[in-house]
């Protein structure tokens, strides 16, 4: 590990000490996902702030890992909670985590989604000292929890500070486990979107939808119902669809004469998604539910694209109650038509929305979000103490105590 290279000259971070931080990602690094993206952006921002960061994560192909990430083992397909999940578990993984903790000499270890039965839970079990945990979703269903209640309870008692990324995630925690959490929202790397080169210049007539078309909760059909009416007002209007699309299914929902107004870009990389957003005049998020945060809205706002979104509570919060983006009544196509006509008819309105959106997104820039996470680290870090391997109070740990110290090193 390269941590020791930086240890000689401890850099100063805005008057505070640079921390040695270990971050645990529970899901495979090579599978796209919200938690993985969060861990990546957090780790990179913390390093920008001058901290020493190591990430441990399951990964299928270790050669793709960035230099700050360590191989936490292959994910295995395990039936869990009614579906097949890709998790890393077992004694080999536990020993891996133990070695990572010993070699990392971390001031604080930050686990993500601690109750997912993967590396994060193993870390809570195998580590002792300042541990911070972040809850991302409602993954910990009460049934799964009650089965392993004693295990979960013991692991959670070792967590010194809990963070929830949304009110929704916090509520799950409060209802199922008890206790509370600090709310620190997801961040966005504003510059990655604000500075992306557009695919084509904006022309005032390009509407963008993002998401799998077959997923009803993404709400594409709400937009498609509004589409003929919108085209009546703006005959040259284009709808750009980004994400895995069933084109035949989408076209079947529209009159034949509207088919040519659709453009399918398919699934895009993060970078190309940013470029597509920079080319759009309006981003529409007609989601009908199931959204706990709305990171895509922040990405569009960072790209300077005016946002029109359904009035889900999570969206309203991100949009600062409609000040940083226009909202319409959820699932109401005629209200969506009304709002979109207003936004499309006035370039002044679009500019105002884009400016307000960008200012709002800047508040969620990772640099601010990570600073609040560091405040949490500072409040649990003990001077002169590091996170250590926990061999107390656990049967397996007691039995393994003799073998593990000599065996792993």
């Amino acid at each position: 590990m390269s941590l020791d290279e930086g240890a000689a000259a401890v850099p100063k971070v805005s008057g505070h000490r640079a921390l040695r931080i270990g971050i645990v990602c529970p899901y495979a690094w090579d599978v796209p996902g919200g938690v993985q993206a969060h861990v990546r952006d957090l780790a990179e921002t913390l390093m920008d702030l001058g901290h020493l960061v190591r990430v441990i994560t399951p990964v299928q192909d270790p050669s793709i890992l960035p230099d700050y990430a360590d191989d936490g083992g292959r994910p295995r397909s395990v039936p869990y909670n009614g579906s097949v999940a890709r998790l890393t578990l077992g004694m080999r993984a536990t020993n891996h985590v133990r070695r990572w903790i010993r070699e990392g000499e971390f001031d604080v270890v930050h686990v993500h989604e601690p109750l997912a039965p993967s590396l994060s839970l193993l870390t809570c079990w195998a580590a002792e000292g300042p541990i911070v945990a972040t809850w991302h979703s409602s993954i910990a269903r009460s049934r799964a929890l009650s089965v392993g209640y004693y295990i979960a309870q013991t692991a959670m008692e070792k967590v010194s500070a809990r963070i929830a990324v949304s009110e929704y995630a916090r509520r799950t925690l409060v209802d199922h486990i008890g206790g509370d959490a600090v709310l620190i929202p997801n961040g966005v790397k504003v510059a990655n979107f604000a500075e992306a080169a557009p695919l084509v210049p904006r022309n005032g007539r390009r509407v963008l939808f993002l998401g799998r078309t077959g997923e009803p909760r993404k709400g594409l059909s709400v937009l498609l119902r509004a589409w003929p009416g919108l085209r009546h007002n703006f005959p040259d209007l284009k709808l750009v669809i980004v994400g895995a699309a069933d084109e035949a299914d989408v076209l079947a929902q529209l009159p034949a004469e509207d088919a040519a107004s659709l453009e399918f870009l398919g699934p895009l990389s993060d970078h190309d998604k940013a470029r597509a957003l920079r080319s759009a005049d309006v981003y529409v998020a007609p989601n009908t539910g199931g959204e706990s945060f709305g990171i895509v809205l922040l990405e569009a706002m960072s790209a300077g694209t005016p946002v029109v979104a359904s009035d889900l509570p999570a969206f309203r919060r991100v949009l600062d109650d409609g000040r940083a983006g226009a909202v319409f009544v959820n699932e109401d196509s005629s209200d969506l038509t009304r709002v979109l006509i207003r936004v499309l008819s006035s370039s002044a309105e679009r500019e105002a929305l884009a400016a307000a959106g960008l200012a709002r997104a800047a508040e969620f820039d990772w640099s601010h979000i990570a600073a609040d996470v560091v405040a949490v680290y500072d409040s649990v870090v003990q001077p002169g103490e590091i996170v250590e391997v926990d061999l107390r109070g656990q049967l397996m740990g007691r039995w393994g105590r003799r073998g593990s110290t000599s065996g792993i090193r």
Binding site: E157, S160, D180, V182, L183, A371, S379, V380
Partner: protein
């Protein structure tokens, strides 16, 4: 010895072993919780000492009008004295420092009153050296708030385990005093809350 007695003895023995294991694991859990609380309580002392230092520095910086500087200096001085006295008895117990939390709350109150709006904050930040010290103050007030919260979380988790019947019957907590939460006003000044996190739009 009949078959029945042998089974009974084996069952009793197994039960005793399971009980012993359970008790030993619970004792381990409790020990860990106690150490976590000791740690978080020590962290709180460190953060409060830093807050007092930043407040004193601000009062002495010449960035504030004399009336404000005097009020902050007085509150910070009282907090330092209370903190010093408390640390001297800290090894004994954490009881009896109710007065200290009133004094620390006073410092929170003074800071909250002075930096209650963005106008005051912007005025100070515009002065040379003002930006850095305001950022330090914002950082430390947030850290005090977080540290106390995490400490009290730990205390509550510990009390929950200690309230358990078996823990009380077998005296698993030993002679460690019943843990107490720290109750004080640590609300950060509204003018010093930056970003979209708590206390702002997202938590409403």
């Amino acid at each position: 010895m009949s078959m029945g007695t042998a089974v009974l003895i084996a069952a009793v023995f197994a039960f005793a072993v399971i009980c012993a294991l359970y008790l030993s694991m619970t004792a381990g859990r409790l020990d860990r919780l106690h150490r976590r609380i000791d740690g978080s309580r020590a962290s709180l002392d460190v953060q409060l000492a830093r807050r007092q230092a930043v407040a004193s520095e601000l009062a002495a910086s010449g960035l504030l009008d004399p009336a404000t500087a005097t009020v902050i200096a007085a509150a910070a001085h009282a907090a330092r004295e209370a903190g010093d006295q408390d640390t001297r008895v800290a090894s004994e117990s954490v009881v009896g420092d109710g007065k200290r939390w009133l004094i620390e709350s006073d410092l929170s109150g003074v800071l909250a009153e002075v930096f209650d709006d963005s106008y005051e904050v912007a005025e100070v930040m515009a002065l040379p050296g003002g930006h850095d010290i305001v950022v330090s103050l914002a950082g430390i007030t947030r850290r005090v708030e977080l540290t106390r919260r995490f400490h009290n979380d730990g205390v509550r988790a510990c009390r929950q385990v200690r309230a358990h019947r078996l823990v009380r019957w077998f005296g698993l907590a030993g002679r460690t005093p019943w843990p107490s939460t720290v109750e004080m006003d640590d609300t950060p000044p509204t003018g010093l809350i930056f970003g979209p996190g708590e206390g702002r739009t997202l938590d409403t």
